[in-house]
Assembly symmetry: C2
Homo-oligomer: 362 residues x 2
């Protein structure tokens, strides 16, 4: 059906699969004979328990999450995870962070409240346009973990190889590439992701944590809600969770498995989509990608024209042509196309056709 | 239209107005020509900014909130507010709490992490079946605030008169009576409410805070997300908020104003509905209300039969008769009917007819 939907290149919240939205719409007034909408359900009811248990089981299957990892559904987004990670994992009060852009910088600033932060590698020297070499980092023996932002949403970089943590726990913010490609969970101590970029509606972070990292000896000032153990012990139902987001994400997990065919298939589609845009940028005389080739994100593609004025002109023309949210983040300027899982290849092709046309005229 | 919806007496998440759900359903695939669902919108887009600004403006109108109060939309629910209130307001490290049941007890336990808690009045002696006299409390001069849970969801009590705080700041958890009746905001320093009981979907707390209580000298360990100033300075858009819940709640605010006619009208309807159930309980020989008359909540009505076995039998029979969620909270047992704003009078009448029928047969 034609709903008049636009190609939405927002960095998040962002597009969701249309068949998932149709299903949600169909269940709005009465979810599967329960007599109510999911928004109206007690989180302690059997019908909602089934929804949250299915969501967890489907995510475990999709990512092949080992049994010794807990899956938690927590409110508060990345901002809260920036605090929860050091509060919960800084046992020795010391952690290593890799500085690759806006979101790792935010994580670093918050972690400094709770202990010593060692920046073992940075790409600040070249405006965060690449991922630094992390094959031989200087990591103190007593560092509690090594933290990365695996895909920098604003800067458009991604890790194709994980850091050599030399036996230390790896913590990753996967928000803007969560479920975009296969992931060997066993290589991580903790993965967290705000779901509003590549999965569902804002207001939910998924945390995947190795059980032995969950502690019961946190400092007294840690609020009950900010202790991973609170959520782990109660299967994410210590208090009322964001039931609606869990329901919607559960549907996306099923969609990725059953319709897309799993994360290998999703990755192939994402590679194809990104190639359409990167091939154009590499051949263009007017538009230029902002990131070195080897570290380019398949999800967030920042690019520029020769001037700020022309950047703004392209954005204005793109809106007139029916595209949404192509303006670069205010902190870096330029343009950015976020092409998450739910962006169809046709959307990227239409964008490239528009950019080619613009280039021909200028 | 008949959707086959049940009368849902859940204590929260709970019923929402059917016309609001229909509107949301209608806007699912393409919100008002934006080309996308609200779940897919950038929180920095003009279209979402309008949604959040309208929600705040409509709430301000509905509650007549004075200009020197901020309205904040925060994730994390009551559990996070239990920590945020003392973290932000305990300047002298001392606060007075009134102990009236399960939710004030949770607030007290969390506040003890951050300072001295003085329980100035309690109804623990009679199983929290009443609201203690708060007309002449013993409040230390340097107490930072006096905290109440204005409606105890589990115990079924409510304050019809606010405590005499003797000039101290009043903080109120209004979660289970938010927008059920008029409220003179100027009497409070801070009001907070998890919206999932009487307004919209879970995952959002509304905080109404007097501006002079917002501080910038909090202890270093307070996470950025847990500082009210973070949210106040950014008009609740410091990070990605629960956009969907804000959108849904905004619709309920409009519905209360335009369809119901405001909070005076809502209160009259709630009084009528509650009277149907309380009048029956007062006349019944089998069922008995659990709360003293003068302090009975209009929202949550706990009641019992002569035995636990019969309680369970009534619950089972109610499910068979098409009612949902009448089982009392696991901590107190018995039965409980939550009859929030969105429960129609017909729902309460149907429940009473069912209970009368049950009584006639036993």
């Amino acid at each position: 059906m034609n709903y008049g939907r636009t190609f939405n290149f927002s960095a998040g919240p962002a597009m969701m699969p249309e068949p998932v939205l149709e299903e949600i719409q169909g269940e709005m007034m009465n979810y599967r004979g329960s007599g109510m909408c999911v928004m109206e359900m007690s989180h302690r009811s059997k019908v909602f328990e089934q929804i949250i248990q299915d969501a967890e089981a489907d995510l475990r299957k999709l990512m092949n999450i080992p049994d010794n990892y807990k899956v938690l559904f927590i409110q508060g987004g990345g901002t809260l995870q920036f605090a929860m990670v050091p509060m919960n994992l800084m046992k020795n009060g010391k952690a290593v962070y890799i500085e690759t852009g806006s979101w790792s910088k935010k994580a670093i600033a918050e972690a400094k409240k709770y202990g010593e932060v060692i920046i073992a590698a940075s790409s600040k020297d070249k405006n965060f346009s690449y991922i630094p070499d992390c094959s031989d980092l200087d990591i103190p023996e007593d560092a509690d973990y090594v933290y990365i932002c695996e895909n920098e949403t604003i800067n458009g970089t991604t890790y194709f190889e994980l850091p050599n943590t030399k036996g230390h726990v790896l913590v990753s913010d996967q928000s803007s590439m969560f479920l975009s490609r296969p992931c060997d969970v066993s290589k991580y101590g903790l993965i967290w992701a705000g779901v509003q970029k590549n999965v569902g509606p804002a207001g939910l972070a998924v945390v995947i944590i190795r059980e032995d990292l969950i502690r019961d000896d946190l400092p007294a000032y840690v609020p009950t809600y900010l202790n991973y153990k609170t959520h782990a012990d109660a299967a994410s139902l210590y208090n009322t969770p964001n039931c609606w987001a869990i329901y919607c994400c559960g549907k996306v997990f099923k969609y990725l498995q059953n319709t897309i065919g799993g994360l290998e298939a999703m990755n192939r589609l994402n590679e194809e989509k990104a190639a359409v845009l990167y091939d154009f940028l590499d051949s263009s005389k007017l538009f230029k990608g902002a990131v070195v080739k080897k570290d380019r994100s398949l999800m967030n593609v920042p690019f520029v024209t020769p001037s700020k004025e022309m950047d703004a002109d392209v954005v204005a023309a793109s809106v007139a042509a029916g595209f949404s949210n192509l303006k670069g983040h205010k902190s870096v300027g330029g343009l950015r196309a976020s092409i998450y899982n739910a962006m169809p290849k046709e959307g990227v092709e239409a964008l490239v056709a528009f950019l080619k046309d613009y280039e021909a005229k200028h």
